[in-house]
């Protein structure tokens, strides 16, 4: 039991620290001994007026366009990724389309380090005038989230007995109808799990968003945090405040969906 407590503290502490820093006065950000429980709190970090700053750039109001972009990109990625991967997973698991080679290729795509392909992608999007657009980011995120989703869904669909498919064919349904009416609803937990994972990944993705965008038209939250980073900026409070804002939506969403995550992530590997 004690062990469990230690482990939980380990997991929780950094998040807690970030959280309270967001509400600390500037002289408390760095003090020795560290201020574990602040005596007074402030909202000024959200207004960007602590630590010698003057609102304006550091104010949390500037986060709105980035929040909007992140929401659009993450939701779109999650939704489209689930759709595409479920279609492909269905095709592969039921009809063995492409065989092991195709499946292997899809799964191996997850190994792609973003940093390796970002340059050609940059040139690619430049050619089509799609730099600094949300669509470009969505497309890239899709490439990185779909493989895992497909993999998970393949194993999930495996659990659904083929007899149900057969039954629907007997009833005169086409494979497509079978997909939408039988397989999809039965695999709802798996779909939810996959959507959540894709959302988490897209929300936190940094490198692609950084390199393919240049202003708040399309930049996402992780890039927004970049404005506070390294060296010259000393605004730990506003930074923590911004970090909190970046963190909360995805945490809330994931916690809501955790039940499905747990049901859905067995990779079908557990047989009775």
């Amino acid at each position: 039991m004690v062990l469990a407590v230690f482990i939980l503290i380990f997991f929780l502490f950094p998040i807690y620290w970030l959280g309270i820093t967001a509400f600390k006065h500037s002289e408390d950000w760095f003090k020795w001994p560290p201020v574990l429980i602040p005596k007074s709190l402030t909202f000024n970090n959200f207004l960007g007026t602590e630590g010698g700053f003057f609102g304006g750039i550091a104010s949390i109001a500037t986060v709105v366009p980035y929040l909007r972009n992140s929401l659009i990109v993450a939701i779109a990625t999650a939704f489209i990724s689930t759709l595409i991967s479920s279609m492909a997973a269905y095709s592969i698991s039921r009809f063995k389309t492409g065989g092991i080679v195709f499946a292997n290729w899809i799964i191996s795509l997850r190994m792609l380090p973003p940093v390796a392909v970002i340059l050609p992608l940059y040139i690619f999007f430049k050619q089509f005038g799609m730099l600094n657009t949300r669509l470009a980011i969505i497309l890239c995120h899709l490439v990185f989230t779909t493989p895992l989703s497909t993999w998970i869904l393949i194993t999930f669909f495996k659990e659904i007995p083929k007899e149900m498919d057969e039954a629907s064919y007997v009833d005169g349904a086409s494979p497509l109808q079978c997909f939408f009416r039988i397989v999809l609803p039965l695999s709802a937990p798996g779909l939810a799990a996959v959507t959540t994972l894709a959302f988490i990944q897209s929300w936190g993705e940094f490198l692609i968003a950084l390199l393919l965008t240049s202003n708040s038209d399309a930049q996402t939250l992780p890039v927004y945090l970049g404005r506070y980073i390294t060296g010259f900026r000393i605004a730990w409070g506003p930074l923590a405040a911004a970090g909190l804002i970046v963190m909360i939506p995805v945490i809330v969403f994931s916690l809501l969906m955790q039940r499905y995550l747990i049901k859905g992530l067995t990779f079908g590997a557990v047989k009775g």
Partner: protein
């Protein structure tokens, strides 16, 4: 029945998502259509607040132009500027560029002088070019004859120190006893070592601070410019000038007059040795950057802090340093040749809103803005008139002496196109030397010089 419910739910969720996505993207498209001319100003974080304030005033005077300041961290700003210059997409209209990137971005920046000549209607008649401090006008404005920017943030490093401790009779007496001279801000790095030891608890139990100085030698471009503070002491001594020739404003202190690396020399080695010696009396030098030294000095852990002027705006709110005029003194960096920093404000050659951009850049660098950025944000002025302004002098009396002297005698980094690359490998090598991984310093610096020559195509 349960199954139908499940199916219905799934469809409902899908529809909800789709609607949300569609409405969000359409919503913002409508917004974008309504915008007037919007200038995208790419700015480093330390300039961003001032630029935001300046933009607000600018928009009031020019309601037809909107200005959006996009702060990006230092490490990202330069690659972004470069990427856009090469792609010619005009993703930003105006940018702050760090003075040493002048050579590498020059080709993508608009020639402001030429533009002014071709578009006299946009030129502000009150904009005084002669008011700029000559060095500033050059390093933040010109590259190979092209006028690529107007000076925005004029900067050199300063030595900030605890005036209250330095003027405390008890410490003055003790220092005089130990070192035989008066306690005052050190003029050379040798003197600095003594003062540092005096204020380090482990060396001197009566020291009020734990460390004498707080230094930033991290694995980032900070280390590159910190090195020059030491190296310049010797490079610009009369012996240094005799041996290596004058320092060119384009090639900087690390090169000889005939453009060869000057740091692979006894002087270069000595600079490293001095750094290694003094860093023992500073908290975590290799893990500290600008922010860490700010906090260390700000909470009274160190007695001295070499840094840029922007720290003053934050320190005045910290209880340890209140009231700031009594506790913090400003002196010239030991060695007498502080490294220069600063930013120019330039226009992207591929910008689609050049006229609006020009009006903005002019406004942001005129006398009024220059004074505002100092008074409110501690961003160094670049104009003579501001340095002599009575309000400025009342607020910061040291401007006249220390500031002017530092600007005139500053040391410089190279501004040539290859600079970012040269800098990065130098930081790697210097970092390894400081870590103790390269005991033969002369050898390491020689190898570095060879790499530099390779990059420079020799």
């Amino acid at each position: 029945m349960k199954r139908k419910l499940l199916i219905l739910c799934t469809y409902a969720v899908c529809v909800f998502f789709a609607l949300g996505f569609v409405s969000l993207s359409f919503g913002s498209q409508k917004e974008e259509g309504k915008k007037a001319v919007t200038l995208n100003v790419l700015s480093s974080p330390d300039n961003a607040d001032a630029l935001a304030e300046i933009s607000k005033r600018f928009i009031r005077i020019n309601p037809d132009i909107k200005v959006e300041v996009s702060p990006v961290s230092w490490e990202v700003l330069y690659p972004q500027i470069l990427a856009d210059i090469n792609a010619k997409t005009g993703a930003f209209d105006v940018c702050t560029w760090d003075l040493m990137t002048a050579g590498s971005i020059a080709k993508g920046m608009l020639d402001l002088e030429k533009f002014a000549q071709e578009n006299p209607d946009f030129v502000d008649p009150d904009f005084n070019h002669d008011d700029f401090i000559p060095t500033a006008a050059y390093v933040y404005g010109k590259w190979e004859g092209k006028n690529i920017g107007y000076p925005f943030y004029g900067a050199t490093m300063f030595l900030f120190y605890r005036k209250d401790y330095f003027e405390e009779p008890m410490y003055q007496a003790a220092f005089e006893r130990m070192y035989g001279r008066k306690l005052s801000p050190p003029k050379t790095w040798e003197e600095a070592l003594e003062v540092t030891k005096f204020f380090t608890k482990s060396e001197n139990s009566m020291s009020p601070t734990e460390y004498g100085i707080t230094l930033m030698f991290p694995r980032s471009h900070t280390l590159f410019y910190m090195y020059i503070n030491w190296f310049a002491q010797m490079r610009r001594s009369s012996r240094g000038i005799a041996k290596y020739g004058d320092v060119s404003l384009d090639w900087g202190d690390l090169f000889t007059a005939d453009k060869k690396p000057a740091f692979n020399s006894p002087e270069g080695v000595k600079a490293m040795e001095m750094m290694m010696e003094i860093m023992q009396y500073s908290p975590d030098p290799l893990g500290s950057d600008y922010g860490e030294t700010y906090e260390a000095f700000g909470h009274g852990i160190a007695a001295m802090c070499p840094s840029w002027t922007a720290v003053l705006s934050g320190w005045k709110d910290l209880p340890e340093l209140s009231p700031i005029n009594d506790k913090v003194g400003v002196a010239v960096i030991p060695g007498g040749h502080p490294v220069s920093g600063g930013w120019g404000l330039g226009i992207n050659d591929a910008s689609k809103h050049k006229e609006a951009a020009f009006r903005f850049v002019q406004y942001a660098t005129n006398t009024e803005s220059d004074k505002l950025q100092w008074m409110q944000f501690r961003i160094g002025p670049t104009r003579f008139s501001v340095l002599k302004d009575p309000e400025v002098l009342a607020d910061s009396p040291w401007m006249e002496g220390v500031y002017a002297y530092s600007l005139e005698n500053a040391s410089h980094r190279p501004r040539i196109p290859a600079e970012p690359k040269l800098e990065d490998i130098m930081v790697g090598t210097l970092s390894e030397i400081l870590l103790g991984n390269k005991p033969n310093i002369a050898d390491a610096l020689d190898k570095l010089a060879m790499e530099w020559n390779k990059i420079l195509g020799r």
